[in-house]
Assembly symmetry: C3
Amino acid sequence: MSKASTTGTAWSLDPDRALPAEPRQRDIARAVYRATAELPIVSMHGHVAVEAILDNQSFGDPAELFVIPDHYLVRMLVSQGYSPADLGVPAVDASGTASETDHRKIWRLFCENWKLFRGTPTRYWIEHALIDVFGVTHVPSSEHADEIYDHLLATLALPEFHIRSLFDRFNIEILSTTDAPESDLAAHAALAADGWGERVVPTFRPDALFYPHHATWRDGIGRLSARSGIEITGYESYLDALRKRRFAFAEAGARASDHGHLLADTTPLAAADAGRIFDAARRGQISQGESHAFAANMLFETARMSLDDGLVMQLHPGVLRNHSDANFTAFGADTGFDIPIPIEFTRSLRPLLEEFGLDPRFRMILFTIDEDVYSRELAPLAGVYPSVRLGAPWWFLDSPGGMARFRDLVTETAGFYNTSGFVDDTRAFASIPARHDLARRVDAGYLAKLVAEHRLGLDEAVETAIDLAYNLPLQSYARRDS
Amino acid sequence: MSKASTTGTAWSLDPDRALPAEPRQRDIARAVYRATAELPIVSMHGHVAVEAILDNQSFGDPAELFVIPDHYLVRMLVSQGYSPADLGVPAVDASGTASETDHRKIWRLFCENWKLFRGTPTRYWIEHALIDVFGVTHVPSSEHADEIYDHLLATLALPEFHIRSLFDRFNIEILSTTDAPESDLAAHAALAADGWGERVVPTFRPDALFYPHHATWRDGIGRLSARSGIEITGYESYLDALRKRRFAFAEAGARASDHGHLLADTTPLAAADAGRIFDAARRGQISQGESHAFAANMLFETARMSLDDGLVMQLHPGVLRNHSDANFTAFGADTGFDIPIPIEFTRSLRPLLEEFGLDPRFRMILFTIDEDVYSRELAPLAGVYPSVRLGAPWWFLDSPGGMARFRDLVTETAGFYNTSGFVDDTRAFASIPARHDLARRVDAGYLAKLVAEHRLGLDEAVETAIDLAYNLPLQSYARRDS
Amino acid sequence: MSKASTTGTAWSLDPDRALPAEPRQRDIARAVYRATAELPIVSMHGHVAVEAILDNQSFGDPAELFVIPDHYLVRMLVSQGYSPADLGVPAVDASGTASETDHRKIWRLFCENWKLFRGTPTRYWIEHALIDVFGVTHVPSSEHADEIYDHLLATLALPEFHIRSLFDRFNIEILSTTDAPESDLAAHAALAADGWGERVVPTFRPDALFYPHHATWRDGIGRLSARSGIEITGYESYLDALRKRRFAFAEAGARASDHGHLLADTTPLAAADAGRIFDAARRGQISQGESHAFAANMLFETARMSLDDGLVMQLHPGVLRNHSDANFTAFGADTGFDIPIPIEFTRSLRPLLEEFGLDPRFRMILFTIDEDVYSRELAPLAGVYPSVRLGAPWWFLDSPGGMARFRDLVTETAGFYNTSGFVDDTRAFASIPARHDLARRVDAGYLAKLVAEHRLGLDEAVETAIDLAYNLPLQSYARRDS
């Protein structure tokens, strides 16, 4: 909380923030949280650019760090009538829309609209980063916008605020990036040569190669062919090339593959049918329905491949991307217009789980932004299939209320030990500590309730909290052949 | 709470009712609530009959005020085995079912069954109205039914309990009624002549003209034609007539149109297709499927029309009306047998939002009684489209728990400032203060939790509460050309 | 809570367990709970074997009592990589899988994995049974596994721990078993002869005869024919045989029928169509679609039959059984692989409720494990149809959080008096007191919140709690002709 907002004294973070308000539970939660507060950060799923780490980049100016690339923040201002262009988001179309280039002006606009973020996790993360990481002492406002801007600009230029220094300061033990199958992984190799090979690992993200109706698919196949050194002449060589790249990723330290599909469907195709769709797609003759069927088949094939290379399979379906074509045409993807749809897992995952669900070599981590499936489908599935773990609340749900509802709706059926521990899923590097700290606080609060209601011992709660914050993510994302 | 029920002293409302029980949060909530408790009531969506206000009607007797017209109350007694006829609901069929005409007897039956309402908002509203508005001092019961009846009968006859006096006493700044497109708006004109033109405004509710398979549709088109003075010969002149009536409503002070559809579908039709359906419907040759397609198209056209006349567009889909044909045949609509169905917004609204969602002249307010869409669809949509605001929890959800869940599930993604503020949606005039007061208490409780968990400053909470109770409904329902 | 786990003193149950943590609400909840804690148990829906009661069986050894037959417990250990065979679940296939036969070893495995159950109702129930029923003084662990095993083995052998003694000690007033239509009800008759006829009653569960595509259907029809003494030559005589068996069940004391369907569909078939499907099924020529249509029709026919014999109709749809074929083939049904699917009631029940929903002779109790329908569909339906009552949270939802959410999501629309009171739905006899006690505690907590927020009087809360724990289950399951 901004104490300055009520008292005029220096802006600061309350040590009890996001813990339960009720005194008895807060006391217990404090004790539980204390046991996890200083644990290293295990960040197994995120979108930090590996090159930024390799080059030990500075974060530029405040607008570049906090506003322009953050779709949470952009969308909230767009929802109140600003254009992405006002916020410096570059136009991608040929319309010649001029985006704001005065970054101080963008920062002012953000500061003036600070109140819009009340009650949101964006507010919570940015508050944490501004105060705790960058030493800002004023609440964002019209009055203080420039002063904060100048302070941040000076701070961000200091070597100790470049990314590798913050990596150390944040106590990040391991961080996974997200990488295309055709990536040369050169940055990862260079980091490894620097001794950072265990600290920064790649993740295999092949979505663009799994949906053949996407405009970029054919070029992607070409790049995959080139990178793998396998001439892709059809479906079988396509599978071979993917297999080869997965092994390359595993050798480069990858723990997992990652799959963001529209649906959770995992129905396999007969090889002949998959081959026919593949060939038609290369000729540009494919329907959306065939493309989705092909993508479902590829989830099935991914599970099969993972038996050999041990990569953990992450699946997070249920988002309709780029809901507004007009915004997409003007400003491109990842600008806030991705909207969830209802999702179904029980029947959709059945083909895959029938085949691989009981196999000790297989590990799957499931994410959702449709909360309706927590108690109905995800917890019962994770509560019986040894291969299934539930990922942390994700995207819109990575928030105090979202995390509390996750524990409430999942724990009684799946327990704690079928969950993956926390996953931050962020491209905003400076917010990583805030996100992990918040998850530890919310979990401490949930465990404190169990203790206060005499449903768990305090020693058990402390052990569980440590497992959720540290041991479970390491274990859940351990390569299955390791 | 009825203190009389435990101690025998006078029945009274506890000043802390519906605030959080935990002392720390209650203290904060009290401070927040104090800032909104006396604010004027802004009632932008309701079903009070404009003629009742024009004529400054009395509310009749207790059964006429509280029981017979209130479908919440009727349905609860029906659920325990009483017939609507026992409650004085008039039969509409030719079966000759005799409805109870002894209103004292109806009142007794209600009082005897007071316990059925435990834990419901009906109980909360009626308690507030009986105690605070009408000065009743006994809990409803067999024992006190007659005494309360007599007290209410005498009170309701007093001039200071006629509707305009209560309107002043309730501190209602503005109230929207709901009106058919073919309404002559004469009562609104007469009120305006009385100086009440800014206090009571109409709302354009064209549902009956949008579903061509309904039995009343053709007559409605006839009335629309007559009232608009436009001869309706086909789809284009039908649109013209609607357009003209919308402008008449806007001139009469209307802020909004209101749409209660079965589905949220907004897919437009080619004009030729819409025309063909329209013509077929006038010949009585239309399928249900065509009718729903036509209604979806009319939502799209409504958005287009609103760019010109500035009316805010309210949409509340998802209720299957008259679930029991037997009850509908005997007692007609609005007697408690309307049951929600699952609803979908992300894909359904896409056509409309593609076309109008980024237009600053467009404003849409969305309601649901399927809570599953709060965090999955509604908050993400409102959290990015500048045209979209989320209406208050509605119908079954207009309750302490319902409102708490709304804030919990919506705020972290949409913030507070993409919600519309409170909407009471009632035809029960005497319950209006209770409903607004309850919403202010529940919002105070939610904000108090944020403050107690150090996620918001107290000054911010107070400002937000005032916005939710007063400023946001005024702003959300401001005509877009105003 | 296991106090031993934190302090080393004797393991014990805290008297305030599962009551609200906040002191003010806990005080009120204590007062409410005190009024119900000692009430007799009314157990109207369960899966205890009637023969076990007739024979006054012992529960064998600890693995036989707690581990092998409990699919909640088995599935949690399977989810962490153990095979059902490790837990002594017998293989049903011809593969010759050897299941563990050393029950002490099975018990040790369970004790070593005690931590997996943190936060689950399984932990809560077993803790209650171990401490309160069997006097165990150590928390399950590797260290104490043998000691606990020996203690339980000795205890279970004592006559006062045989089932009839526990029945008395648990203060069970009435318990319903679940029985096939072709059951001879001989055990029930023998119990009646013993004077236990009012304490143990059968329930008519005809699912196996309603889905003609199931492999066992034809044999079932044969058994039904034999038991009823009616030669089943077609659909009409099939209905006659069912009708006759329902009367036999009613005469044997049955209060209800029970229906576990995949969907809630209740669409009736024309008799000719039902007859055609029936005849085709007898020839083995039936599709899944026809089978589901037949089952839906049979729900409709069940409602009709109940008008004559007064049996209450229980429906609990929405579970996809045996999600893993591999596990089903190896270990059979009820081993933890039943996973819920989304379910719909509003339209599905409409045909049945149209015909029978307002009939005072009809009573239906609805269960769900899809929580999404609580506020959207079930509460509105129960809040108006006099025939409908909502069953208690069931299966995965029979837990502190699940029960709290049920009250939160249902009460404001349906009130308390359209719910059935608690139903334990267990085959684990020793857990019956724990389950009922937990429900009484959670309801006390919910009611305490209403009192603390001044929405209900304490006297009303106490009366409501007693109704929920005792009167409502008796009334809801009273035969409608009684």
